[in-house]
């Protein structure tokens, strides 16, 4: 008897086997079904609902997928041999109930059990996103989720440039860009998606070229129009996250109102000279609702009191800091990672090189995001934001 056969005999005696049909019944009752075959085998099809952990990395990755050592683990390979070795490895790690699926995936298919062709990364994508794949917080599943995600960026300028650039690099599958402006040479001090050659071209076009050059797999949808009450519903349809990098109050309130209406998280950044602010407005965050922009600022300043970078200037790197933080928050939201900046605002002071965190309050009586209130409808944003000081009613809760 060969050493291999001897070893297999020992494993068969030690590891309990289940049939594919029994395995499926156990999976439906909460057991973990683990497919340990190689990626090229899995790409042809795998048991529906199975965790796919290649044999070579099984022991290194199983705890992220199955943290409970007492959960029943059903190991499956192609024919029921490799799964015996894998099951043995899991037992040694301390998993108390490990079983091997007899006959493996071949018999699973013969028995007519459910099969799916899992989305997988091709070789080029594995190479491109290798540093993401190494992190259990992203991994292949997270990277596939990013590739399947859709993020709409309002503005392809100072904030939108770094945000879109990093989101494209990270492999966010579809990016939307809304901007009706053309590239001006004075933009190039901070708007890093555009180059000197692009002066005079629509920003969304030069941005699209830069993003596609960085990552050809990203689909870029462009909207070379000014966001308005008339087009906002059509443009905002079907996105996962909105990133506000706009440069004026009418658009900021419109973006807020549309995100409140549609329940979308609104990743908000703004800059002025050496200062920046970043937060996430998301009143419909499941379980932990946050404020909206109107909870924070019920009304914009009248034009004569509104600060503007066009008049006061802005450090060119500043939108890089704030736009990049917006990209970080966006990826966290897409992957459900960490603690998003919902109900908190980071205020950045570049001169003192200091971040201050402020707590933002949800206004329970907010006419826009208050619980159970119907959406009041879009307003005349230009008119709303150019009202004179004297007509602005004061806040009551002072």
């Amino acid at each position: 008897m060969s050493a291999k056969d001897k070893r297999l005999g020992e494993l068969k005696a030690a590891i309990p086997e289940v049939t594919p049909r029994e395995a499926e019944a156990l999976r439906q009752r909460g057991a973990a079904l683990v497919d340990v075959r190689e990626p090229d085998e899995v790409a042809q099809g795998s048991a529906t609902g199975a965790l796919r952990l290649v044999r070579g990395f099984l022991e290194l990755r199983i705890e992220d997928a199955v943290p409970d050592l007492d959960r029943t683990v059903l190991v499956m390979c192609a024919g029921g041999v490799r799964s015996l070795f894998a099951a043995e490895g899991l037992r040694r790690m301390g998993y108390t109930d490990v079983r091997s699926v007899g006959g493996g995936f071949t018999r699973w298919k013969q028995d007519g059990l459910p099969v799916e062709v899992p989305a997988t990364l091709d070789a080029a994508a594995r190479e491109r996103y290798a540093r993401h794949l190494l992190m259990p917080e992203v991994g292949e599943e997270g990277q596939l989720k990013l590739l399947d995600s859709r993020v709409l960026l309002i503005g392809a300028g100072g904030l939108g440039s770094p945000a879109a650039y990093y989101l494209a690099a990270a492999g966010v599958g579809t990016l939307g860009l809304v901007d009706d402006d053309v590239v001006d040479r004075s933009n190039l001090q901070r708007q890093i998606l555009h180059t000197d050659r692009d002066v005079g071209r629509p920003k969304v076009e030069s941005a699209r070229e830069a993003l596609e050059a960085l990552n050809p797999a990203v689909k870029v949808r462009t909207f070379a129009e000014r966001l308005s009450s008339a087009n906002v519903d059509a443009i905002f349809d079907g996105w996962d996250v909105v990133v506000d990098g706009s440069d004026n109050f009418p658009t900021r309130y419109l973006v807020n109102d549309a995100c409140v209406k549609l329940g979308l998280p609104n990743v908000h950044g703004s800059i002025f000279r050496f200062d920046g602010q970043v937060t996430v407005f998301w009143p419909r965050r499941p379980g932990q609702p946050g404020p909206c922009y109107r909870c924070l600022y019920p009304e914009p300043p009248p034009p004569e009191l509104a600060p503007s970078c066009a008049e006061a200037g802005v450090l060119g790197v500043l939108p890089g800091v704030i736009g990049t933080l917006e990209a970080v928050e966006t990826i966290k939201l897409l992957l459900g990672l960490g603690d998003p900046l919902v109900g908190r605002m980071l205020v950045y002071d570049a001169l003192r090189q200091r971040f201050t965190e402020l707590e933002l309050r949800r206004d329970p009586s907010c006419a826009w995001c208050g619980e159970g209130r119907p959406f009041p409808g879009y307003v005349d944003y230009e008119g709303f934001c150019s009202a004179r000081t004297a007509t602005s009613p004061a806040k009551t809760a002072t």
Binding site: L305, C309, V314, T396
Partner: protein
């Protein structure tokens, strides 16, 4: 009661460029009144005619929005940091719109 008041960049023309001032006061209102008295034109940018905070300006004691505390009557203690945070939209010149 010495309170550190952080002046946001858009309001620094009113404080001759100072980004922080140390001021005395027992409540947010007292501190703001002293700030307004020692600056030029800051009052109308922060407070409305009736003395209430304008709807596009928030004031924080530490990390807390005073609207969630006792508004301008919120007491302050020695060493507190009071931050004034106005709404800032970005680059488009607002005046040309009006």
């Amino acid at each position: 009661m010495t309170i550190t008041v952080r002046i946001p960049a858009p309001l620094r023309p009113c404080t001759d460029g100072a980004d922080e001032l140390a001021l005395e006061g027992r409540t947010v209102r007292e501190v703001l009144d002293r700030l307004i008295a020692s600056s030029h034109g800051l009052g109308e940018r922060v407070l409305a005619g009736d003395g209430a905070l304008r709807p596009f300006v928030n004031v924080y004691v530490g990390r807390q929005d005073v609207r969630g505390l006792q508004g301008l009557d919120t007491p302050v203690q020695d060493g507190d940091v009071l931050s004034i945070v106005p709404a800032v939209a970005g680059g488009r010149p607002e005046r040309r719109r009006a």
